[in-house]
């Protein structure tokens, strides 16, 4: 483990009546693989939304590499190197898989804009195509590159989201239930891909998952949320064996 990357301290968020998060703290070190689990409505997605800037927490602080993220909009946080995927898949309409990656690459390199659209043309350069090719290969979408993303299955769609997030060359990646809606085979592939990303690229990953074997296989540490409260955190094996976690989440009433 190296230095801290993301530090969220006592983050709280309520939606009118519902307390979605109360005093949740989460720390992620560089290159670390962390999981967040908890039953439906525990506030996991809300936590991601607060960290990635989609929602503004009512209280609490979030710092990234020691820098406060409080005033930064989601797009600014993305440019610092925080990428994410969505539980309810969010693809761009009218674009092919490759377009998704190119757009992400352009957003990162900030190449293009009015002037170059008008006077230099906007065809992808060979370096851009190469970068996209590498990521497509990694997630296994090479042969789907020219298909409209909307026409893909949910599983492929999740891969497109992952590839798009990876194009941002993130230091920290939030994944919201990447295996939901995938069959067993696809889930296994997804696990393998995430392992590669984490090992080879040293990307820190925070994973929300309901698939316990996947969490056990990938995550070094696990946080457990229940009704907006952090009820346990620590090394994955310890947490999954914890009595309270089993009652609250795993439905083990014995």
């Amino acid at each position: 483990m190296s230095g801290p990357l993301l530090e969220a301290e006592a983050v709280s968020k309520r939606f009118s009546g519902i307390v979605a998060l109360s005093d949740v703290s989460l720390h992620v070190a560089d290159g670390e693989f962390v999981a967040v689990i908890g039953p439906n409505g525990a506030g996991k997605s809300t936590l991601f939304n607060c960290l990635s800037g989609v929602l503004r927490p009512d209280r609490g602080t979030v710092t990234f590499r020691g820098r406060s993220l409080e005033r930064l909009r989601p797009s600014a946080r993305a440019r610092l190197g925080i990428a994410r995927t969505f539980q309810r898949i969010e693809l761009f309409g009218g674009m092919t898989v490759l377009d998704h990656l190119l757009v992400a690459d352009r957003a990162r390199t900030r190449r293009g804009g009015l002037w170059s659209d008008l006077f230099r043309g906007s065809r992808p350069t060979s370096e851009e195509l190469e970068r996209c090719g590498i990521v497509l290969e990694l997630v296994g979408l090479t042969e789907w590159a020219d298909r409209p993303a909307e026409s893909l299955s949910l599983g492929k769609g999740r891969l497109v989201e992952l590839a798009r997030a990876l194009m941002c060359d993130p230091a920290l990646l939030f994944l919201d239930e990447p295996s939901s809606g995938l069959d067993r085979h696809e889930t296994a592939e997804m696990s393998a891909t995430l392992e590669t990303v984490s090992r080879q690229h040293g990307t820190a990953i925070v994973l929300i998952e309901h698939d316990v074997p996947m969490v056990r296989r990938l995550a070094e540490r696990t946080y457990v949320l229940d009704y907006g409260q952090l009820i346990a955190d620590g090394p994955t094996e310890d947490v999954l064996g914890d009595e309270r976690v089993r009652v609250a989440y795993l439905g083990d009433n014995s």
Binding site: P39, N40, G53, R73, P74, S75, A76, A78, R79, A83, F86, Q87, R88, I89, E90, L91, F92, G93, G94, M95, D99, L102, V103, A104, R106, A107, R108, R111, G112, G113, L114, S116, D117, L118, S122, D146, R147, P148, E150, S151, L152, S153, L154, G157, R164, A165, M167, E177, S180, G181, R184, H210, D211, V212, P213, L240, G241, Y249, L250, G251
Partner: protein, 710 residues
């Protein structure tokens, strides 16, 4: 302080007028999810019926009122719900707004066709006694309320109380809201959403009818534009109530009326503030409220959790079209344009040539809508005002400096871009409906504050703009001007296409289809939208400058009134908000279609004159067709076009192109397949996998194979 209080009291009747309209709008929005811009048009329909039966047929007051308010009002609502809005329940708020825009244009024209187009002076009141100040009000104050005002106050208060009670205590109110939130979910819970939705529309349309009949006597003559402008003024109260709270809306309306009266009393009467600001106050308040009312900016559209059950929209043509097809269509387009140009050059007389030129220039202005609406996803209702800024800029520069007209047009476009950028910075933070309202407020502020100023428009007499000379070519000749306009349109389309296919267009597309995902990869929505808005403003300003040059003067009333701007939007979105051919075609259509209709409508009359021995019923039937119907019929069709938007959000021309492109591609492939020589299939085969609807939520429990840990 005596006078301040008196002024304030004097504002109450006007405030109630605002409140009545605003509450009606809130009711429609709450119970149907439609921000019904056509509310004023519905009010106009009832008022016109009331006028006709009361004044022309001299019905007794009670029967006339019952017919106009209780019968005609809800009947219109029921009709709209049955043929239109029931299919739009799960549509996005943009589709609903565009539909109401179409209705706003079509309904008054239908009324004119049915009831006749004569001007209706002095609309009759909904009460008998005209003045009450003698018997109701102490004589020593200067406050005078007439019976009309008292009736308005009473009606407004009654309506507000009744609605508040309805939503508080009856289950109907609750069911109405459930149906708006999620019709399918409501059905699953046993609510008959059809019935509820019909009731909602009848109720809110009853209110529209009441408002129309009640408010018509405020104006010297009955006309739909006045009612619509009054409605936009009332929008400030609607926004004050957050589009949902009826009591707050009522309070907002009252406050607005009082504020206006107090301002009127305290400002010197001859200052620009009094003449310009007072009529514009509601629009100014609306604009400021939209920008600063807390809670509005962050309001995301409530999305129906079951809406994803709908099939996704078809992929745009560009995505399924092979490259050779793109090249082919472009070449085909160039040939069509060249042939059309030649035909216009040699065949058309001055009148038709003029219409074609105007149409092409309007096509350029329409291209600004492509950038802002089609690419940017922002329903801007102020492109006409931005075009007018370009026109005024051109005219003022030529008048003040005597510079070349071409240079002035370009600088005019730059000025429009500057204004557009200033407007965009606050406005692009707003979502869908709110952005549309803010730009509408801007258009009306521009009209009532800036257009009268002499440094903007040159005062009462429009500034003239000469035609330019380019080398030896004098553009005073309409044929050369046509060529010039076509070249300008080609240049602007090249710009628009490059942006659309380029990074700018891709970013905007990403933002439009998923703004959270776009933000998650670092695309700044605000920046991209401001850029789109500014470019669109520049294009609109450029088109406006050209229009002024062509017409010979920068004339706001005849070229750029805000209502015409709304018609343009309706026309473009129904033709296809993303394609340049749709822009040019709808520009041409706007000018040529009414003219062609006028021609057509003269035939029956002429035939009757030249055939005096025709049977009398034929003669009278044909003779009834008036050439002056043409404008109404054209506008009704424009409006109906916008109504089809919900079915074909990609636009009719785009849909048509998609069909023909698909047919050609299939045909070519079959030919190649027969010959057995062609390269392998250039189009990806239809996807074997159908898009799965995303699940509503995760599984909640560990997946089955996870077992119990331990």
């Amino acid at each position: 302080m005596e006078t301040l209080l008196e002024n304030a009291v004097r504002g109450i009747p006007t405030g109630c007028v605002f409140a009545l309209l605003a509450v009606g709008l809130v009711l429609t929005y709450k119970t149907s999810g439609v921000f019904n811009l056509a509310f004023g048009a519905q009010a106009y329909a009832s008022a016109a019926v009331f006028y006709v039966v009361r004044k022309d047929h001299e019905w007794p007051l009670l029967w006339a009122a019952l017919l106009a308010v209780v019968v005609v009002g809800p009947a219109i609502g029921l009709l709209l719900e049955r043929v239109l809005f029931r299919y739009l329940r799960t549509a996005g708020s943009m589709a609903k707004l565009v539909t109401s825009l179409g209705l706003l244009i079509a309904i008054p024209e239908v009324v004119k066709l049915v009831l006749g187009d004569e001007s209706r002076k002095n609309p009759p009141p909904l009460w008998y006694v005209m003045r009450t100040d003698e018997w109701l009000w102490p004589r020593n104050t200067s406050i005078v309320l007439d019976a009309g005002q008292i009736a308005t106050i009473a009606a407004t208060v009654t309506v507000v109380v009744a609605l508040v009670l309805l939503f508080r205590f009856s289950s109907l109110g609750l069911r109405m809201r459930a149906v708006v939130e999620s019709p399918r979910m409501a059905e699953l819970n046993g609510v008959d959403s059809e019935r509820v939705s019909m009731t909602s529309w009848m109720l809110s349309s009853l209110l529209a009818g009441l408002a129309g009949v009640l408010l018509a006597p405020l104006f010297a003559s009955l006309n739909p534009l006045d009612l619509f402008t009054l409605l936009v003024a009332a929008l400030a109260a609607t926004v004050f109530g957050g589009l949902t709270s009826i009591p707050l809306t009522f309070a907002g309306g009252l406050l607005l009326g009082v504020l206006q009266a107090v301002l009127a009393g305290s400002l010197p009467t001859d200052s620009i503030l009094a003449t310009g600001l007072r009529p514009a106050l509601p629009f100014l308040v609306l604009f400021l409220l939209l920008l600063f009312r807390p809670g509005l900016r962050s309001t995301r559209e409530v999305t129906d959790p079951l809406a994803t059950v709908e099939a996704p929209p078809p992929a745009p043509v560009a995505l399924v079209r092979p490259h050779w097809m793109t090249v082919g269509t472009r070449a085909f387009g160039a040939v069509v344009v060249a042939l059309g140009l030649a035909a216009c050059w040699f065949l058309l007389d001055g009148y038709w040539l003029g219409l074609v030129i105007s149409g092409i220039i309007l096509g350029i202005i329409m291209m600004s809508l492509i950038v802002v609406v089609g690419m940017g996803g922002m329903l801007s209702l102020c492109q006409a005002a931005l075009a007018a800024i370009g026109a005024f800029g051109t005219a003022q520069l030529v008048a003040a400096t005597g510079m070349s007209v071409l240079g002035a047009i370009v600088i005019g476009a730059v000025i429009a871009a500057g204004v557009g950028a200033l407007l965009a910075v606050p406005v692009v933070r707003l979502d869908g409906v709110y952005l549309a309202l803010a730009t509408l407020a801007f258009a009306l502020m521009f009209e009532s504050i800036f257009v009268p100023l002499s440094w903007v428009s040159g005062g009462a007499v429009p500034l003239s703009v000469p035609r330019p000379l380019i080398g030896p070519i004098d553009l005073a000749d309409d044929r050369w001007f046509l060529l010039f306009a076509v070249l300008c349109a080609a240049a602007v389309s090249a710009v628009v296409i490059r942006l659309r296919e380029g990074t700018t267009g891709r970013f905007l597309q990403a933002l439009q289809t998923s703004d959270v995902a776009a933000a998650s990869i670092g695309i700044s929505g605000r920046r991209s939208r401001v850029v789109a808005f500014t470019v669109a403003a520049a294009i609109a300003g450029f088109g406006g400058g050209l229009m002024a040059t062509y017409v010979g003067q920068a004339n706001y009333q005849s070229s750029f009134p805000y209502l015409i701007g709304l018609v343009w939007v309706a026309l473009l979105v129904s033709a296809g908000a993303r394609s340049v051919q749709a822009a040019v075609l709808s520009g041409l259509f706007f000018f040529l279609f009414p003219a062609i209709l006028t021609r057509l409508f003269t035939f029956p009359g002429n035939w009757v004159e030249s055939n005096p021995d025709a049977p009398s019923w034929v003669a009278s039937a044909l003779g009834a067709i008036q050439p002056n119907w043409a404008q109404s019929v054209a506008f009704i069709l424009f409006g109906i076009g916008a109504i089809t938007y919900a079915k074909h959000p990609e636009g009719s021309i785009e849909a048509q192109t998609a069909t023909s492109v698909g047919a050609i591609v299939r045909w070519v492939e079959r030919r190649r397949g027969d010959a057995g020589t062609g390269p392998s299939d250039p189009v990806p085969p239809p996807s074997p996998e159908v898009t799965d609807a995303p699940p509503l939520a995760g599984t909640g429990r560990p997946t089955a194979d996870s077992g119990s840990p331990g």
